[in-house]
Amino acid sequence: MIWIRTIWYILTLRCEEADRLRSRARGGELTRTERVAERLHRSLCSSCRKAAAQLDQIDRALEHLADGLSEGRAPDWDEQRAARLDEAMRRAQQES
């Protein structure tokens, strides 16, 4: 009986649930049934293909942001911040 429920779940998945599954997909949090259901639904639904493409772009952007340490750029970094941090380091070195 479980397999009937599984097939029913796969065949009747709606966009709303597929949308939720996609949010959890990164990091391998989905079960095999959920993965199959989402893929099958996406292959049949153009809105979900577009939504998945957008989510994929957001996921890749998050990955790049996480990996972007070597660039080390921050929009609100400025000389005053650097001076304050330098001053704190100078004090620590004097005290040590």
Partner: protein, 188 residues
């Protein structure tokens, strides 16, 4: 003379040059994960001072920056843990509208002119506009890739709440970017 002595006694580390060499990278790391520039600066300062105090533990197997970021990472997690008791509230308004389980409005693709770099900058800015609980969940789970269980422990929330926050956070990012890029497309 004092600075030379300090460098010589720290196994190749150069604490006097940390801010100039790694300050912005450290601040960028913290800023992406914390809600305000002030909070990020405070944590970077704590990390720099902690690294200075424990400079004897640097074994030279990693670069100076990697080691400093490692120290900073712990400080950022401490800061996130310290604010976990912040009120956890989600309004009932869903980010994406559905009608009988299907998208209420047809999805539109983003203009072809939108590249990864643009998405990246928009996501960075949009993260700051998310409610704090949503932003923290997304940063820890999706940016740092921590396991769900670890994120739940750090933020002191249930797995159900975590996945709700991640789902709605991503839906909100998608919505904000769609609005932004729609206007980009209109201009183009």
């Amino acid at each position: 003379m004092g600075e030379q002595a300090t460098t010589a006694s720290t196994g190749g580390l150069d604490p006097a040059g940390w801010v100039a060499s790694h300050g912005e990278a450290m601040f960028a790391y913290a800023r992406l994960r914390l809600p305000t520039a002030e909070a990020a600066e405070e944590v970077v300062q704590e990390a720099l001072l902690a690294a200075f105090r424990s400079r004897g533990s640097f074994d030279g197997r990693s670069s100076e920056r990697t080691w400093l970021i490692g120290v900073l990472r712990h400080k950022v997690l401490d800061a996130l843990r310290a604010t976990k008791k912040a009120p956890f509230q989600l309004d009932d308004k869903e980010e994406t509208c559905f009608c009988k389980g299907e998208y209420a409005e047809p999805m539109r693709t983003w203009p072809d002119s939108v590249g990864l770099k643009e998405v990246q900058e928009s996501v960075r800015a949009a993260l700051d506009r998310l409610p704090e609980a949503m932003r923290r969940a997304l940063v820890l789970r999706e940016l740092d890739g921590l396991p769900g269980k670890a994120v739940c422990e750090i933020l002191d929330i249930s797995p159900t709440n975590l996945w709700t926050l991640v789902h709605r956070g991503k839906a909100r990012l998608r919505k904000m970017l769609s609005e932004e890029f729609a206007s980009t497309g209109d201009r183009g």
